[in-house]
Structures are given as structure tokens and as C-alpha cells.
């Protein structure tokens, strides 16, 4: 019974591993063979229980007496029939045993075929997963490097002393300063205007004053002329008076001319003052205008740049998120790639199990009197296996020729291509 359990187990394992393979078929054959063996063992037991009776009967008498007994005793006839039947069965069993031995030997060959196929799976998966990991890691190294560079650049732009952010802060400060300067300028400008007004008034005042002096001088002159006329009329008595009147007249002329000079220069100064104050005002106004414009420009620049710096800051965060997600993906890939090692071991275990099964079957054959196990017919097994081959490497693994038609391409990259 235990054999049956082992065989059932082996069958289910092989069916799981090779659902469409050669192995289940072979195992089915072997199962049948072992079932026959079990029957045979049952028969052998029967034979053992019958044989002594036959021997006893055969050796119970001798000569003519025996002959007579044989003919007359129906029991003896039955026994003879049984012996003849057993002999036929034995011959049939011998044939079956021969077939089982061949099947077991073929099974051994099949295992070695399966082993070779497993080797392909192992080496192919190992190579492909290695290639895959190499490319994945080089991609990830590159992306890591690029992300780092971008991040550094962004940090440089956004943070630190020479960063855009600090530039904007400086600009904003400058704008504030300009605002102060402009206010001072406006105050200065209005004070200057007031001062100019005072000056103009003063100039007007001085002109008025000098006109008054001129008037006074004119009047004095007339007085002096009248005084000289009166002095002349007085004759010799008015001689001294005439001298004084003459002096007064001279004085009046002089004071008039001085006053006229003052008036001229004051007017000149006043005109120039008005002119220059007008210029000054214009200059100041255009200065204020320029400051206002540059303040406006700076404000615009900072308004545009501030959200951009914020965006860049987000970019830094995003690049950090990206690089940590790349790391997580990479870790997942490292885990996945390790299953290749497990697959390799599992395939090895399957081969071991099958080999063990072969050993058990060979022992059964030996113990049932079939002698040393034969070597299976590899060619026949390969013919059997070939029916299922679809992959080029399966053919190559056994040095079999596979007709792939002509694939002679000049271009190395098209070596697997056939153009019809």
C-alpha cells in the first residue's frame, strides 16, 4: 500500500510541475507496472498455498499406482490444470516484468532529459534576471544621479545666500528702501518749492524797495534842481547853498544809478532763480517718476518670481518624493529577482524526487527478480520528448538539429529574423 501512496504523491508532484509533460505518462506506466507486481505478489501467495498440495500429491505414490491415481483422482486433474495455468501466468508475468524493466529504465532516461531541461530553465532565468537587474540598476543609478543634480540645482536656486529666494528678498528690501527714498524726495521737492516761493517774494520785495529808492532819488534830484534855481536867484548870498544843492543833486543821481543797478541785478537773479527752480522741479519730478517706475518694475519682478520660487520649492519636494519612490521600487525589484534562486532550488528538488522514485522502482524490479536494471533507450525518450519541444534551447540542449530555415542576415541585430 505504501508504494501506492508514494506513487500517487509522485504523480501529483509531476503533474503539478509538468502538466503536459512526458513524466506523468511515464509515471502512469510505472504505476501500472507496480500494480501488476502487487497482483503478482498476491498470486505468488496463492501459489505457495497450492504448491505443497501438488508436491504432496505427486510424491505420495510411485509407478503404475501413481498413474492410476492420477487418472482416477479428479483432485489431481484440478491440480495439474492449476499448475499449467500458473506456468502460463508466470510466462505472462515474465513478459510483463520485461516491459516494466524497460519502462523503468526509460523513466530513468526521462529524468535525465527533464534534468537537462531544468538546467536550461535555471541558466536562462539566472542569466536573464542578472541582465535585467544590471539594466534596472543602471537605470536607477542614472535616475538617482539626475534627480540629485536637479535637486542640488533647485536647492541652489531656492535656498542659501546666493539663491533666487534671497535675491527676491533683497529686491523686496530695495523696493521698500526706494519707497523711503521717494518719500524723502517728495518732501525735499515740496520744501524746495516753498523755499523758491519765499525767494521769489524776497526778490519782488527787493525790487519794490529799489524802485522806492529810485523814486526817492528822482524826488531828491528835483528838490536839488529847485534848490539850485533858488540859490542862483539869491545871487551872491545863495552861493554856498548852491554848492550844497549841487552836491545833493549829485548824490541823488548816484543813488538812482545804484538803485537801478540793484534792480537790474535783482531782476536778473530773480529770473534766473525762477528759471532754475523750474528746471529743478522738472528734474525732481522726472526723478520721482523714474523711481516710481523702477519701484513698479521691481514689484512686478518680485510678484512674478515669488510664486516661481515657491514652485521650485515644490519641485525639490517632488524630486525627493520621486527618489524615495524609485528606492522603494528598486527594493521591490530586488525582492522579486530573488525568486529565481528559489525556482532553481525547487527544480533541483523535483529532479531529486524523481531520481529517488526511479531508485525505488529499480529496487522493486531487483527484488521481484528482474536482475540489475537496464539503461533506458535515450533516443526513444528524446523522440518522445521532442514532440513537446517548442523552444530553440530545448533542441540545442540535446544537440538536436532544428530546422529554422535560412536566417542569414548581414545585420547582427536581425539574427533571429526571417524575412519571407
Amino acid at each position: 500500500m505504501m508504494w501506492m501512496y508514494i506513487l500517487l504523491l509522485a504523480m501529483s508532484v509531476s503533474l503539478y510541475v509538468y502538466p503536459n509533460g512526458v513524466v506523468p505518462a511515464l509515471i502512469a506506466v510505472v504505476c501500472g507496472a507496480l500494480a501488476i507486481k502487487a497482483i503478482k505478489e498476491g498470486r505468488a501467495k496463492t501459489r505457495k498455498s497450492v504448491s505443497p498440495t501438488v508436491t504432496d500429491a505427486v510424491h505420495s505414490g510411485s509407478g503404475m499406482e501413481d498413474e492410476a491415481n492420477r487418472v482416477t483422482d479428479p483432485r489431481l486433474k484440478d491440480l495439474e490444470d492449476t499448475i499449467a495455468k500458473n506456468a502460463r501466468d508466470l510466462q505472462a508475468f515474465a513478459g510483463a516484468r520485461e516491459e516494466i524493466a524497460v519502462a523503468v529504465a526509460d523513466f530513468g532516461q526521462a529524468i535525465s532529459v527533464v534534468e537537462s531541461l531544468s538546467d536550461i530553465v535555471i541558466s536562462k532565468t539566472e542569466n536573464s534576471s542578472k541582465d535585467l537587474s544590471t539594466s534596472i540598476f543602471s537605470i536607477s543609478d542614472n535616475s538617482k544621479r539626475v534627480t540629485e543634480e536637479i535637486k542640488e540645482l533647485l536647492i541652489e536656486i531656492c535656498k542659501g545666500e546666493d539663491s533666487l529666494e534671497s535675491d527676491i528678498k533683497k529686491l523686496t528690501k530695495e523696493v521698500d528702501k526706494l519707497d523711503l527714498v521717494m518719500k524723502d524726495f517728495q518732501i525735499m521737492s515740496s520744501e524746495y518749492g516753498q523755499n523758491t516761493d519765499v525767494l521769489e517774494k524776497n526778490v519782488d520785495g527787493i525790487s519794490e524797495y529799489s524802485r522806492a529808492i529810485t523814486d526817492l532819488a528822482d524826488k531828491t534830484n528835483i528838490l536839488a534842481i529847485n534848490a539850485s534855481i533858488e540859490a542862483a536867484r539869491a545871487g551872491e548870498y545863495g552861493k554856498g547853498f548852491r554848492v550844497i544843492a549841487g552836491e545833493v543833486q549829485k548824490l541823488a543821481k548816484q543813488s538812482k544809478s545804484i538803485s537801478e543797478n540793484i534792480n537790474t541785478s535783482i531782476l536778473k537773479v530773480g529770473t534766473q532763480l525762477v528759471k532754475s527752480s523750474k528746471n529743478h522741479k522738472e528734474i525732481m519730478e522726472s526723478g520721482v517718476k523714474a523711481i516710481r517706475q523702477s519701484q513698479k518694475n521691481l514689484l512686478e519682478v518680485t510678484t512674478i518670481l515669488t510664486p516661481q520660487v515657491a514652485l521650485l520649492g515644490e519641485g525639490i519636494n517632488e524630486s525627493e518624493t520621486l527618489s524615495s519612490s524609485v528606492t522603494a521600487d528598486l527594493n521591490a525589484i530586488i525582492v522579486s529577482l530573488q525568486y529565481q534562486d528559489s525556482i532553481r532550488q525547487i527544480l533541483g528538488h523535483e529532479i531529486n524526487l524523481l531520481n529517488e522514485l526511479r531508485g525505488i522502482m529499480e529496487n522493486v524490479l531487483v527484488s521481484s527478480g528482474n536482475g540489475v536494471p537496464k539503461t533506458g533507450d535515450r533516443e526513444r525518450i528524446l523522440d518522445l520528448a521532442k514532440k513537446y519541444f517548442t523552444v530553440r534551447d530545448e533542441w540545442l540542449a540535446f544537440g538536436l538539429n532544428i530546422d529554422e530555415g535560412s536566417m542569414e542576415n548581414q545585420d547582427e541585430s536581425l539574427k533571429n529574423v526571417t524575412i519571407f
Binding site: E126, K130, I334, D341
Partner: protein, 118 residues
């Protein structure tokens, strides 16, 4: 810190390398216990990451040798294997192993374990 990775799977060795090198570890490699013992830089290893099932000399045999070598006996040995049965783990522990990681390993976990011994 130098980590000596002994595993018959070249993929595993490569993945260990890829996981540890960015963390600043130097990784030495060998395909099995025998190759590891004859590695010229074995004395420079600070920690061993050892597979159990390997041809020629398995991980347990290797650890026996490591524990008998006065240059290496104090270096921690961590098993990195597909085996997860308690009896195997106990065998590893009894041989003087410092830890047991069942494959597939996750890089952060591997790094964490190694850091416990740095």
C-alpha cells in the same frame, strides 16, 4: 565595513551588492564555502552573509570552519537562505550564527540587520 556574501546564486550575490554598496559597505563574494575559505581577503571581512544550500561546501560547514579560525571566529555570521524551518535555524544558531534571514530579503531589512552588528 566589509561584508562577505557567500551564495551559489550569482543573482543573489549581485542583489546583495546592489543593496549594500550604496550604503557604503564593501562586498566580497564567493560561490560556496570552499571558495570563501580560500578567498585572499577573507580576514578583512567584518560580517558574513552565508547561504545554507550550496554545492561543494554548504553554509553550515563554512560556519564551522569560520568558528574554528581564530582570525574569523569573532566575526558575526548571518544566514541568508530560503530555508525557514526552525530545526535548521537552531542548527545555525548552535553553530554560532548571529542571525537568520529568509529569502527573499528586503534591502532595508538586510541593512537594518547588518547595522545591528556594526
Amino acid at each position: 565595513m566589509t561584508i562577505f556574501c557567500v551564495d551559489d546564486s550569482s543573482t543573489i550575490r549581485m542583489l546583495v551588492k546592489k543593496a549594500l554598496e550604496p550604503e557604503g559597505y564593501t562586498v566580497l563574494e564567493a560561490e560556496n564555502g570552499k571558495e570563501a575559505l580560500s578567498h585572499k581577503d577573507i580576514a578583512g571581512a567584518d560580517l558574513f552573509l552565508v547561504d545554507v544550500n550550496m554545492p561543494q561546501m554548504n553554509g553550515f560547514e563554512l560556519v564551522k570552519n569560520i568558528k574554528q579560525d581564530t582570525r574569523l571566529s569573532s566575526k558575526p555570521v548571518i544566514f541568508l537562505t530560503t530555508e525557514s524551518a526552525l530545526e535548521k535555524k537552531n542548527e545555525g544558531k548552535d553553530l554560532g550564527g548571529a542571525g537568520w534571514i529568509v529569502k527573499p530579503f528586503e534591502p532595508p531589512a538586510l541593512i537594518k540587520v547588518i547595522k545591528m552588528f556594526s
